[in-house]
């Protein structure tokens, strides 16, 4: 939906891969060219081969172009039979939204308590946090654009909340 300078949209489905394991083992298991973030809240972008988000010391989420990419990756890693790296298809688990525009940070602050000013939350930072009552995963893809990943069962509830947050700023614009 559009309102003033704000754009709120639901993103196209993409492949998602949940990676469990300690960083070194995970790096070893992944094909060449796919980097993973080592720092908390880090985002690693690999040429062509998608984006990897830091979720926790032992969890990362790999975003890939298509769902089949993700399934292949799962199969490949399973094939390694490593007891220290585990991969799960998470393509259907999350729904992705994006909010873009000059006020995007303020819109998110309509329900999220984080400091989203650029110095505190620069581009290519991700964070798990909450928007109102909903656990979300925020990714800042550009100074004026955030992606919001949410688990499917709460996606509708979150969408209503984000629409509300955009509307609530109408008096500003």
């Amino acid at each position: 939906m559009l309102s003033g300078s704000m754009a709120l949209e639901r993103c196209e489905p993409r492949g998602k891969l949940l990676l469990l394991g300690d960083a070194p083992a995970v790096v070893k298991a992944l094909p060449e060219g796919i980097g993973i973030p080592l720092q908390p809240r880090g985002v690693a972008r690999s040429r062509g081969s998608g984006t990897c988000l830091w979720l926790s010391p032992t969890q990362r989420l790999l975003l890939l172009a298509t769902e089949s990419d993700a399934r292949l990756a799962v199969a490949r890693i399973r094939a390694l039979r490593s007891p220290d790296v585990w991969a799960f298809d998470a393509g259907a688990r999350y729904v992705d939204f994006a909010v873009a525009g000059r006020d995007c940070a303020a819109v998110l602050n309509g329900g999220c308590s984080l400091d989203l000013r650029e110095p505190a939350f620069p581009v290519d930072t991700c964070a798990r946090t909450r928007f109102d009552q909903v656990p979300v995963l925020l990714v800042r893809s550009s100074p004026e654009r955030f992606e919001i990943l949410v688990e499917r069962p709460l996606a509708h509830y979150l969408w209503l909340g984000l629409c509300r947050a955009v509307n609530d700023r109408r008096d500003e614009t």
Partner: protein, 945 residues
């Protein structure tokens, strides 16, 4: 009606007229007016009746501290009660009326209470109304109490919430606040908020708006200071416009939650009145408020004024009135020596100055007409005989000094001290980084007095008659000097006791103009200085907040956070969606003209005779992997997990360490060190949380990884004799034959290019297949199965049918057939447990005497003697001695057994098979036989098929 509008500059737009009504009469005002200034401009004096004694009251202040002028504003759904007339901005068509009076504010029947005032001292109701019981009097009391009347209509407006981070938060845009904000904004992110919207006037405001790192929040009032410097503030967005239909506008108000590295409180000070006889008449106002009405709104609240003060600041009011041509009859100053310059200037203006005098009484039934002044001794302890004289005036401007607004400072944990200079409480130390007071809020009242303020908490009454019950301290709650002294006499020496006993400071204004007078007088009555008495706690909010604003966006569709199934199909096909453990799931599917019980019965029969399709997507799906996964699960579940082979399933019970059942589910071994745990729907989150807690906090050396994959998968359950037939039509690359793929086994395969998992687990007692597919494929597969199964009589079923099926089969449901006191021993797991060698969570607790007791409630089946009597869940069994013998936990009339069956927890039930229990249903006694819980297909041939 007299017009009291003055000439000279003001912050109102004289070029435009606004029409409004008050108590049904039409008046006019200007943009920029508040309801209060507009009423005063129209000469309206009486606007309200007091809370307890219904005394006529007028406008007392010019701000949010207003104790008296509370009115009801707006009509229909927009009606708002207890609005301070001094805060309500005027807009075209505004409708306001007095409240808490009948029939009118000018003639209020309840004012008769005044005659009995002396019989109604503080706490009088505690000393009376005991016979025959309080209830006899309460109704009347309740109708008398309260102020405005709610319209009873849902609030049509909506409210926003906004988090904000900044380096410096400045509260209050007076001179001090403006300076602080401008200085900081050069180098830091700054927020400057103020209850008004001037920000030092249009010029300065323009300038400020241009500063890139400064955010201005007009019409915003700080409400509270919470842990770690979280400041909440309420922005009144729409108050300058007339109400408009919902949704056509932005939010009505916005609740800000601001986190600042530094909070600067430039919240100013509130003027304190003086306490004397009959000091509550309409026409008696705070001196500073009168000044505001004159200079800001160009309104004179009266035609002839008297100033009554104990400090220099009120002289400015005298001069302001004088300069605008309003007659000032006299300045009455309690001090023998006012500031020299002021005295001269007053006399120079031809205003009579009575130094060393006090206002000792007032007259005027409907509004102020005359005031009596008398000479007093330097300490104002007594009045000099023969010095009494009456002055005609319709406006009395009082000033007893100033109280810094230190509410947020105190909420931030700042300590206060009593400052004799201003006879008020000020911040103890400066430079409090969390919340620093500056300017008047820090006690720096300017202009600084030439002559010191003379603290006088109560003016002696003239004559012998006791007037203490006519000397008002808290105008909002009708608390008088007599009430405070009564509290002291009766032993309520603590300021908190006095507050609760007299209710001083507990009204809507929270005693902003009365608290210090009240505590000082309590001190006087108990021989203590104000400093020793101390203040009451400054509790948030500083100023009342609409409940809707606190609820923010969590209304209507967002009132509850329910989880949604991945399938949209249900609601569109008659599914009755209800809350099941936080998920919205279909209770049943209503076909036209059907009752719920008919629908449930139809669904049950389909499951038993053909095949049912159930959306089980909310089933918890937690993947537990790693070298130590088996050992990990073996410690968490009552069952032996080590012996679980790949491709197999096992039912599991999970306890807390107190030995109580907290969840059950099905464990699947998918391969070497790979397990899938299917928890109950309600338990998915808790169980995952529980696992992580043990892994991270207790068994940190274990090599285990846990993934909460519940949301990734849709789970569709085919259940019934024809389940296999229908599933076969999908032509999965899996041999579905019962010998190849028996009960309690699982398979992983692919379907149309995506992963698919099959489990032969059954909660219905019928041959069942649980099918997992990625959540976004759920809808498609569901429809496909309905299509393929149609010839075989497939039917979607809901939770209620499932409940009947599992009760028939005698499967327990955690949280329904168990409660916070149920151990596995109570549900027949003793033998299984004794076979397990290793320890598991909760095992030790089972050995405690109370858990071993033979008299515990144990889960059994009940067959009522009356075959068709459906036992209400919760029905109690009564023992021979009249003691409680147990209770029914689940129950249904089984369509297949064609009789009523029930699950129940019965005292030592497992040892009482075949015996009768006596059930009490609404006083009637019914009998039932205790038996096994497996009513249907006890051998399990159907699900093993």
């Amino acid at each position: 009606m007299t017009q009291r509008r003055l000439n000279g500059e003001a912050l109102i737009d004289r070029t435009r007229l606004l029409t409004f009504t008050f108590n049904g009469r039409r008046y006019q005002g200007h943009p920029g007016d508040t309801l209060a200034s507009a009423l005063l401009a129209n000469g309206v004096k009486r606007v309200a009746r007091s809370f307890k004694l219904h005394r006529p009251r007028g406008i007392f202040s010019a701000g949010l501290e207003e104790p008296s002028a509370l009115v009801t504003v707006g009509d229909g759904p927009y009606r708002e009660v207890n609005v301070r007339a001094t805060e309500a901005p005027l807009h075209e068509g505004l409708v306001a009326r007095s409240q808490n009076c009948w029939p009118t504010v000018n003639f209020d029947a309840a004012a008769a209470l005044g005659l009995f005032a002396r019989f109604l001292p503080a706490g009088f109701y505690h000393k009376t109304f005991k016979w025959p019981a309080w209830g006899w009097y309460e109704g009347l009391m309740r109708r008398m109490a309260g102020l405005g009347r709610l319209n009873g209509i849902p609030d049509p407006d909506h409210y926003a919430t906004q988090y904000h981070h900044c380096d410096v938060l400045v509260i209050g845009a007076g001179a001090a606040g403006l300076a602080a904000a401008r200085a900081a904004a050069a180098v830091e992110d700054v927020v400057l908020l103020d209850s008004g919207d001037e920000f030092g006037g249009s010029v300065l405001r323009h300038e400020l708006a241009a500063l890139p790192r400064l955010l201005l929040l007009p019409r915003t009032t700080a409400m509270g200071y919470y842990d770690d410097g979280l400041v909440t503030a309420l922005e009144r967005i729409d108050e300058v416009r007339a109400p408009v239909p919902r949704g056509t506008q932005g939010p009505r108000q916005r609740l800000w939650k601001i986190r600042a590295a530094r909070v600067v409180l430039a919240t100013g000070a509130i003027e304190r009145p003086l306490v004397f006889s009959n000091n509550d008449r309409p026409g008696i106002m705070l001196a500073s408020a009168v000044r505001t009405y004159v200079t800001r709104y160009a309104v004179s609240p009266g035609t002839c004024a008297v100033i009554f003060t104990n400090n220099d600041s009120a002289y400015a009011t005298a001069f302001a009135l004088h300069e605008r041509g309003v007659k000032v009859a006299a300045v009455v100053d309690l001090r023998q020596q006012p500031g020299a310059g002021l005295a001269a200037r007053t006399r120079g203006a031809g205003i009579a100055l009575h130094a060393g005098y006090a206002v000792v009484d007032t007259r005027g039934r409907s509004a102020l007409k005359t005031v009596a002044i008398a000479r007093c001794d330097p300490g104002v302890t007594r009045l000099l005989a023969g010095s009494l004289q009456w002055l005609r005036c319709d406006l009395l401007c009082v000033s007893g000094g100033w109280d810094p607004v230190v509410h947020l400072y105190a909420q931030a944990g700042g300590k206060l001290r009593f400052d004799a200079r201003i006879a008020g409480f000020v911040p103890q130390r400066q430079g409090h980084r969390k919340a620093e007071c500056i300017g008047a809020a820090a006690g720096h009242i300017d202009p600084p007095s030439q002559a010191p303020l003379l603290p006088v908490w109560r003016i002696p009454a003239w004559g012998r008659r006791d007037r203490r019950s006519l000397q008002w301290i808290d105008l909002a709650h009708d608390v008088t000097v007599a009430d405070i002294e009564l509290a002291a006499t009766e032993g309520f020496r603590s300021v908190e006791h006095m507050k609760r006993y007299t209710t001083a400071g507990m009204a809507v204004d929270q005693g902003k103009t009365s608290n210090v007078n009240a505590l000082a007088l309590l001190g006087r009555a108990t021989g203590r200085e104000p400093a020793q008495v101390g203040t009451t706690t400054f509790r948030p909010p500083f100023h009342p907040v609409a409940i809707g604003a606190l609820a923010g966006g969590r209304v209507d569709q967002r009132a509850q956070r329910f989880r949604r199934l991945p399938l949209q199909w249900h609601a569109e096909h008659g599914g009755v969606m209800e809350d099941h453990g936080g998920w919205l799931r279909p209770a049943c599917y209503l076909e036209s003209g059907e009752t719920e019980s008919q629908a449930i019965d139809r669904e049950v029969r389909a499951a038993r005779s053909a095949v049912a399709l159930l959306d089980s997507s909310s089933l918890g799906k937690i993947e537990v992997c790693g070298e130590d996964a088996a050992q990990f699960l073996n410690r968490l579940y009552v069952n032996n997990v080590r012996t679980l082979e790949p491709g197999r399933l096992r039912y599991g019970l999970m306890l807390n360490d107190n030995g109580i059942i907290i969840d059950d589910g099905v464990l699947a071994c998918l391969g070497e060190g790979r397990y899938m745990v299917n928890t109950s729907s309600a338990g998915a989150l808790n169980t995952h949380f529980w696992m992580e807690e043990w892994l991270q906090c207790e068994w940190r050396s274990m090599r285990v990884w846990i993934a909460q994959q519940t949301a990734q998968w849709a789970t569709l359950t085919l259940s019934g004799p024809k389940a296999r037939t229908v599933l076969a039509l999908l032509q999965l690359p899996v041999n579905l034959d019962g010998r190849e793929f028996p009960h309690m086994h699982t398979r992983e395969t692919e379907f149309e290019g995506t992963a698919l998992r099959l489990r032969r687990a059954s909660f219905t007692g019928e041959l069942s297949f649980e099918i997992d597919v990625p959540a976004d494929r759920g809808d498609a597969l569901w429809c496909r199965l309905l299509e393929l199964g149609a010839p075989h009589g497939i039917m979607p079923i809901g939770m209620e049918a499932l409940d009947v099926l599992r009760v028939e089969k005698g499967f327990l449901e955690v949280g329904t057939d168990t409660d916070g006191d149920t151990s596995p021993l109570d549900v027949g797991w003793g033998v299984a447990i004794s076979k397990k060698a290793e320890d598991f969570i909760g095992r030790r607790s089972l050995r405690r005497p109370a858990m071993q007791s033979a008299a515990r409630l144990q889960l059994v089946g009940l067959l009522p003697a009356e075959r068709n009597l459906r036992l209400p869940v919760g029905t109690h069994a009564i023992g021979a001695a009249g003691d409680i013998d147990g209770h029914v936990t689940s129950s249904c009339v089984s369509p297949h057994l064609e009789r009523s069956v029930a699950l129940a927890r019965v005292r030592s039930g497992s040892t009482r098979m075949g015996q009768n229990v006596s059930l009490d249903i609404d006083g009637g006694r019914y009998s039932a036989v205790i038996g096994s819980t497996a009513f249907y297909d006890p051998k399990g041939e159907r699900l093993d098929a």
